[in-house]
Amino acid sequence: MNVVDKKWIRFRIYLVEVLFLIGLGIIIFRAYQLQVIQREHLKSIARAGYLKTKIIPSKRGTIYDREGKELALSIEVTSVYAHPKYIKDKKEAAIKLAPILGRNRNQLMRILNKESSFIWLNRKISSDLGKQVKDLSLQGIVVVPELRSYYPARETGSHLIGFVGADNQGLEGLEKKYDHILKGSPYRLTFLRDACRRAFSVTQTLPFNNGVHDLVLTIDQDLQYNAQKALKKAVKRSRAVSGQCLVVNPANGEILAMAIVPEFDPNNFSRCKPSQWRNRAITDVYEPGSTMKAFLLAASLQEKVVSPLTLFDCEQGEFKIGNNIIHDTHEAGILNVADIIKTSSNIGAVKIGQELGYKKFYEYLKKFGFGEKTNIDLIGERNGFLRGIKSIKPIEEINMYFGQGMTITSLQLAMAMSVIANGGKLMKPYVVKKIIDENGKVEETKPRVIREVISRETALKVTHILEGVATEDGTGVQAAIMGFTVAGKTGTSQKVNPKTKRYSRRKHIATFVGFVPSDRPKMVIAVIIDEPRGIPFGGYVAGPVFKEVGQWALNHFRINPSTRFARNVARSGLDKQLNSPPPPPDPIRIKAGSLPSLKGLGMREVLNKGRALGIKVVLKGSGLAFRQEPAAGSALKGIRSLKVYFKSPT
């Protein structure tokens, strides 16, 4: 018997064939549905599963000082975190990790026993330690690379530079102000990974340009360090609350140093109080006191209401205006304008002020930049306060002439003094000298003149009078620097007690602001000491800081001392100088084969000269050289020893 004969079997087999045909048809349709219709949907889910994007923060830009020394840089560190759920043997993990992470074993154990699925163990530890942890290859302990900002100069310049938070964001200072160009966009790394979380194919290459810039500051790190050192010493000596010391180049408005005490270390900023982070030179305002007399003088001379020799009666230290009595610390009779400034007579200042009138004084204060932001490239700057012409009462006018009833920032004070130093121009201060992009393209900050405030002649006259302050009979003798003439003004202001709204008898602000060398000003230095105890006078408290910082800086920038000869030359050529960049230091004229003049040199320079010439030098007296035996110009031949007489400059 054969199947061919049995039709019903054939029929049933056909039927089964149809069933299979239908089955395969359904399979084909389903495959079509999955692979063609739902393709995009399924593929996107699948890609989300094995495609991972990792964001690697780019290194922050470096901040350099003007000499190219690193002030802030980004370094690679590692952080360690735990997935407590995935740790098999927590005790073993704790025992192995404790010595590397420098932690207590039991404390670590407690952390690992927590229910949470993610815990940072140590953040931003050195790469070496990170590698050690990685080498343990513990399950559930993950080591990731991170970046942290490192400030090699520690406290030096920290108020200016600021710092960066744990997530690479600028929090204070320049790090915050320039965060957008220092930070740069993070690298985005896209790769495939298998179900064991192993990456196997990087599908996207790194961007080469991610917008990171470096900053070059106007700050000189060494000067900044020494300014901070000198200021710290003075604040400590006078047991003051805080202090500020600004060094500005008057010719272009560059901030060479901006020292603030109390200091903080930006590497460990969180250990300091936020009040320590504050850049007090721009954020704190106070009543300036007598330093304003310099600007009163400038205004009055410019308006020609007085001349340096105009005489005023200083009323023997007590002057009654209406119901108010104004006192001077030193009683005096008739004084000329120059002496009023030199001795900082309040009565004299009021009388000069009355000649000028408050309206003009107010205008000039505004022109000098008080009461408005300097717009320096830093954050948190304040305006200060000037009483307007209409709202002022007569007694308040009187007080304004010696700097009471208005508030200023130290930076405003330094910039206003720069006007006098540079021949009458208010400059815009700045701390960022250059911005360098990642291709090395440099964008240099151009100095900007905000306005002409006074004429050059007036500036020279004011300078000449201010030179008297740092002399034997001036209030700022402590600021005098040997071999150089210093022009400046002291200030001792009383602070207003916030409770009583009256001037405190005990709380003062001691100020000295000036420039050196006064005949060719290279730097304006403003020193402000807040609440010194004991003697509060600006000359006494702040003057020595001016001297120390000035002396160091003059030496550091290789500025030659003023000889009388050089001084005359400088004087006559001052106009030209103030317009052009500083000229090369005055050469000491040496005819070949003859003895040079040592007049006006300090002792050290004289000794150096003598050593260079191979002559034994005998020093007599102290101060600056004023006489020498044998005289300058004598033939060098045959001279064995040289006698140099010194005396203090007056």
């Binding site: 089955g23 692979q35 699948a46």
Partner: protein
């Protein structure tokens, strides 16, 4: 009836042989593609599974050629001995120390470095038995007691042994295969209907009886609801198919095989094939399988004697059901079962048994001509 000249013929039915060779080669490629990463990571030899599969191929092809040249009546005589061997092997799984457990199921007997899966062999011997038995019952097939019941008893006995492993998938294949054979063998439609009803009830209670089966059914109905448990595997299978699209990611380019999709080189090898070769590749595979299946039925229709018809039919059905059910499972049309896809999935027992089936079909086919 049997012609000596025909018996010695070396002519092969290329309509079956060529698709088989294609599928075996494709299977070897896919086994290597899907297992190399896993083997390299877990066993330290990326070719581990490939080499073994190649060895099974050689052995299987030998068996196929042997079966092709064995006179058909030898199979008749071997039916009972093979049936008994099958039962012994299945029963041996219950003996502690012999049964080898993988993933909670005791389906393998370990022999040295290799293991055999008795249920693969059991499927084949049962088909052999049913064909023999239907032929013997002849006209009695119309009655329930004489025609249907004996087959039912043997089948249920086998199913019981296999279900206990547990292996619901193979049991379902055996049941379906028996049912198709009985249907073609002359059982009444009424009886078939009863059987279907009865087995549905049994399946229903079996599912209710095991909590993991209920979860599997729920995951089958909506896998996206259980993405981390029972839906995990089928979701990744979908993702593999979807990623492949029309033209595929290219041979070796699958992402899902990188430890995302479990059993990528065995039960779910078609998913990876779909990802790497695309819808076109899947169509080709289905076409090749279709060739074998419909050629098998053609051989059954043209067989010279009824036994050959039944044998060719039940073996083709067995082969076809494995293909259909595996494909339906990996595409989410049926609940997940541990079933291999003939020729493509890694596994010696399945490969050798399926080549044996092909060998017998070639054998019957060669008699049909002449």
């Amino acid at each position: 009836m049997v012609d000596k000249k025909n018996e010695l013929t070396t002519s092969y039915d290329y309509m079956i042989l060529i698709p088989t060779i294609f599928l075996i080669v494709l299977g070897l490629l896919m086994v290597y593609s899907t297992s190399s990463n896993m083997a390299a990571r877990q066993l330290g030899d990326s070719c581990f599974f490939f080499k073994r599969q190649a060895l099974f191929c050689v052995f299987g092809l030998g068996i196929m050629i042997l079966a092709k040249h064995t006179p058909v009546n030898i199979f008749l005589k071997l039916t009972y001995p093979l049936l008994i061997v099958s039962i012994i092997l299945l029963a041996a799984l219950y003996i502690p120390g012999i049964g080898h457990k993988v993933g909670g199921a005791c389906r393998w007997i370990r022999i040295g470095a290799y293991s055999i899966q008795p249920s693969e062999f059991a499927k084949f011997t049962l088909a052999l038995y049913i064909s023999y038995s239907i032929r013997k019952k002849g006209l009695h097939m119309g009655t329930f007691a004489k025609g249907v019941l004996p087959h039912l008893i043997v089948t249920v006995f086998f199913m019981a042994l296999i279900l206990h492993q547990p292996d619901l998938g193979t049991a379902a294949i055996i049941a379906s295969c028996t049912m198709l054979a009985l249907f073609v063998g002359g059982a009444r439609k009424k009886h078939i209907a009863y059987l279907m009803l009865g087995s549905s009830c049994i399946v229903y209670f079996l599912i209710l009886g095991a909590s993991y089966r209920i979860e599997r059914i729920l995951a089958y109905l909506d896998p996206w609801k259980y993405p981390h448990t029972h839906g995990f595997q089928i979701i990744h299978s979908f993702l593999a198919f979807g990623s492949g699209g029309i033209f595929g990611e290219g041979l070796g380019e699958s992402k899902q095989k990188l430890f995302y999709l479990p059993e990528a080189h065995t039960d779910f090898i078609l998913s990876i094939a779909g990802e790497e070769l695309g819808f076109i590749g899947v169509l080709i595979i289905i076409f090749l399988f279709g060739c074998i299946i419909f050629r098998g039925f053609k051989i059954a229709l043209e067989a010279r004697d009824l036994y050959s018809t039944y044998l060719a039919f039940s073996l083709t059905s067995l082969f076809g059901l494995q293909v259909l059910i595996n494909m339906a499972v990996v595409m989410g049309l049926l609940p997940t079962k541990g079933l291999a896809l003939p020729f493509l999935s890694y596994g010696g027992s399945s490969l050798v048994t399926n080549l044996l089936i092909i060998g017998i079909l070639l054998n019957i086919s060669s008699k049909n001509k002449g």
